[in-house]
Structures are given as C-alpha cells and as structure tokens.
C-alpha cells in the first residue's frame, strides 16, 4: 500500500469508486480504502433503480444530469453496466398525493424532464401485470428515461477503470484513525498502514458517522435497516420500476428476469441490526401480490438487508466541512446514493481537482443543518 497520496477515499461503494475514477482521470493520485470488499455496503444491497422524479429541485437536477452520464457510462468505462431506461411509474393514491404529484411534475418539467401524469386506465399500458384497483391508484406519474443499472457491475467497472488510470484500491483495509496538523488533515491510519494525505473523502456509508467522530465532527446520520427481496427469473413482463410513496413499495424486473423489490419493515426504527425478518417478507408479499396478483405464482428466492444512511432532509452531505481543512463528506444519501453517484463524483472532482464549487454543492454542505428551515425531500420509498 502507498504511504503518500493526494486524496484518500474511505469507502469502496459506488460513490467512493466513481470518485476515485474521476479523480484519477484528472491525474490526481488517489487511494481507496475499503474495510470489506467493493460494493459490500449499501451499494451491493440496493434496488438498482435510477430515478429523476423528485420533489426538491436539487435532487431532480442531480438525477437528470446523472442519467446523462449513465447513458454513456458503459462506453466510457469499457464495461457493460447494464443500464436500461424502462421508466419509473409512481402510483398516486389520493387527491392529496395528486396535488403533490402535479407540483413535482411542474417543477421537473421546468428543468426539461419528460414526465407525464397518467390516468388509471393508462397504468396498465406501461405495466400490464398491475391491478389498478388492487393498488388503489387514482393515477400515476411516469418518466420514460428513468431506469436501472447493475450496481455491482457499475462499481466494479469504475474500480477497474480507476486502477487502469493509476488509482490504488485496497479492499479488506479499515480506516482506524485520522491524523491532523492544526486544523488540516495530515494522514489516514489504517489496519494495513498509514497514508499521508491532505484530503480525505468520507464515503463510508453508515460508517461515515464513526469516521467523522474520529475528528469530533458530528454528522446527523441515522442508519435505517431496509430489506429487499429477489424472486426467481421469468420471461420479461414489464420494463418500468413501480413505486408508491404511500405504501413505500418499489419493485422492478431486472435484466435477468427476476423481480427485485422492497418495502419499509413494519414498526422498524433506526439501528444497526442486520437480520432479515419474516415481518418484511409477509408485508412485501401481501403488498406485491395486491399490486400484481399474477406474481403469487412466482417463487421468492432470497431477501437481504441493507442500510439507508438517512439525514434530516433525506438529502446527501457533500463537500468540505468548515471546521477541518481537507475533510470532505460524501455520505447521507438516504437511500439514493447509487442513482445520483455520477453527478456526486463529478461535483466533488470539480471541488477537489479544480477547487471549483457550485450552487448545488453549496446547498448540500453539512452547515445547512444549522439553519432553521431545511427543505425536506418528500419522494422517498423503501
């Protein structure tokens, strides 16, 4: 392992690996330390969805620009990340939700996104297996350019491309301390040795809070255990991701043919517990077969847990913290880290390599939580 680097990234998930790639491409000497294996945290457990339909302008912008990057990413990285655009269909259940949906769609359209409000009878044109009555929908919104990519392949493709450009990626290497000289980062201590650096990126998912604690910086992150399941494969029946903010459910058919989806665990509160529960399984199976009754004949193969690192406004914490020079946050994705990773790494590369900040980046700084009014992202599932 190197003992000196321009930048050390803690965390080998999608954001750590994509940032390593973008920095290496700019000629920055970058090292990644990952305590387990690449994509072993939230990235590897996620639902693979890529959505642009948000309630806040910042998230919508980040997502729209991320999709533009995803569209050419397989070519750029020289590896198929299995990106496809089958759209996201968001069920709308009542007048209150419809009012919010119309507001969201107006804002999204003002940013140039193609998104439509569907009548109940138009829902099955997009996803034929849905039972509109069973899902209790009075309509839906649909954006055809939303979609999916394979989170494992995307992470591995970024890591391979980063290595080809000279980045060093160390798995099974745990960051155990940060060293400072006055109010500047001077080194990262790991269980495999120390790396001298003036810039550390904290991209450690739910462990980001513990990393920041090492230098007495408090991150408002709460780990929320989430469960997700996969069925056996069957012939392609639909292309869109179906989600509902009211029921919290999301599901889609992946490229190989399996359905992958999740729903909030009944009565779940924050915490670090990782065991899957039967409560989830039953709740998921009941809701999923209510939405798409034909799926009752499909076998469920496995379910697993992952974590959302949730912030008070469900938006990420990005950029350098005021109190400590060279300590850069890249966490708090609140369940949306994979889908906005292209823009997150692009913005942070601008900051680190070109010392360039932006309005979006400034709006996602840690300091925002000191203000009285923070705009909360409302469009959250899972």
């Amino acid at each position: 392992m190197k003992s000196n680097a321009d930048v050390v990234i803690i965390g080998g998930g999608i954001n750590g690996c994509s940032l390593a790639y973008r920095l290496a491409k700019k000629g920055v000497d970058v090292v990644v330390v990952e305590k387990n294996y690449l994509s072993s945290g939230a990235t590897g457990a996620c639902g693979a969805g890529i959505r642009q339909q948000w309630s806040t302008k910042e998230n919508t912008l980040l997502a729209i620009r991320s999709v533009k990057i995803f569209e050419q990413l397989s070519k750029e990285l020289g590896h198929d990340i299995e990106f496809r655009q089958g759209g996201y269909l968001i069920a709308v259940h009542d007048e209150k939700e419809m009012k919010q949906a119309k507001k969201n769609v107006a804002m999204q359209r003002s940013l140039g996104l193609k998104v439509d409000i569907l009548k109940p009878e138009e829902i099955t044109d997009i996803v034929p297996i849905l039972d509109v009555e069973g899902m209790r929908a009075i309509g839906a919104t649909f954006c055809p350019t939303d979609g999916h990519a394979n989170p494992f392949q995307t992470t591995f493709a970024y890591a391979d491309a980063a290595r080809r450009l000279g980045a060093e990626i160390n798995t099974h290497t745990m960051a155990t301390g940060l060293q400072l000289i006055k109010k500047t980062i001077s080194a990262v201590v790991t269980d495999q040795g120390t790396i001298n650096t003036n810039i550390v990126v904290n991209a450690a998912g739910i462990d980001s809070k513990a990393i920041a604690d090492m230098v007495h910086i408090k991150l408002p992150l709460t780990p929320f255990r989430k469960e997700i399941m996969a069925t056996e494969r069957f012939k392609p029946l639909f292309e869109a991701m179906v989600i509902s903010f009211k029921d919290g459910i999301y599901f889609s058919q992946q490229r190989e043919g399996q359905i992958v989806g999740g729903i909030p665990i009944p009565e779940e509160t924050g915490g670090y517990k990782t065991m899957p529960t039967f409560a989830f399984l039953q709740h998921m199976a009941q809701t999923l077969t209510r939405y798409a009754p034909i799926l009752k004949h499909v076998n469920m193969l496995r379910h697993w847990t992952g974590f959302y690192d949730v912030t008070p406004d469900a938006r990420p914490i990005l950029g350098e913290v005021k109190e400590l020079h060279g300590f850069i946050q890249c966490n708090g994705f609140s369940g949306h880290g994979f889908m906005i990773s292209p823009m997150v790494s692009s913005l942070l590369t601008d900051l680190i390599a070109n010392h360039k900040t932006s309005e979006v980046l400034d709006s996602l700084a840690l300091e925002r939580f000191k203000r009285k009014n923070i705009e909360k992202e409302l469009s959250v599932v899972g």
Partner: protein, 90 residues
C-alpha cells in the same frame, strides 16, 4: 471444448470463475456479485463449495478460512402467494 459447469442456475463455468479470480475478484461475495453464482434457485448450495475450492487452488487460501457468503433466507424457493397468505399480526 470441455466446459465444466460450476453454477447450474446461472450457467457459470470453472473457466469463468478462474478468469474472474485472475481479474482480482478473490472474495467469495465479490465473485458472487460479479458472476451471479449462488443467486439462482439453489441459492449457492451447489456452487459455493466448488467456488471455494477453486479459490483455494488459485489463491492458496484454505477453504476452511474462506468466509461463506451471507445467509439470505428463505433458503428454498417459496411462492409469493404462500408468503402473502397469512395476515401479519402485530
């Protein structure tokens, strides 16, 4: 050409596994995510031991020291209709 199947569910051969190990995927969970071994109906009961042996041969790490992948219930395929059939009691 001879092709030894390691994972029947996902149609992955011994050569595929060796190739991925050569590319640096030397962790059983990494191989699983790279190749989808253990993600089919058998949930790894057939392939994981074989993959562990190939890993031992290629990396020198003993099978006994190779951690098994996380156990992901329910271990055998269960129809969604069966899982949905009873009401969740508080």
């Amino acid at each position: 050409m001879k092709r030894s199947i390691v994972c029947r569910c996902e149609d992955i051969s011994e050569e595929d596994v060796i190739h991925a190990i050569g590319d640096g995927y030397t962790d059983i969970e990494e191989l699983r995510k790279k190749l989808r071994i253990g993600m089919g109906p058998c949930q790894g009961r057939v392939c994981i031991q074989l993959v562990a042996r190939i890993l031992e041969r290629k990396t020198g790490k003993k099978v006994a020291k190779i951690p098994l992948p996380t156990v992901r219930p329910p271990l055998i395929p269960v129809p969604l209709g069966t899982l949905a059939s009873e009401k969740y009691e508080k």
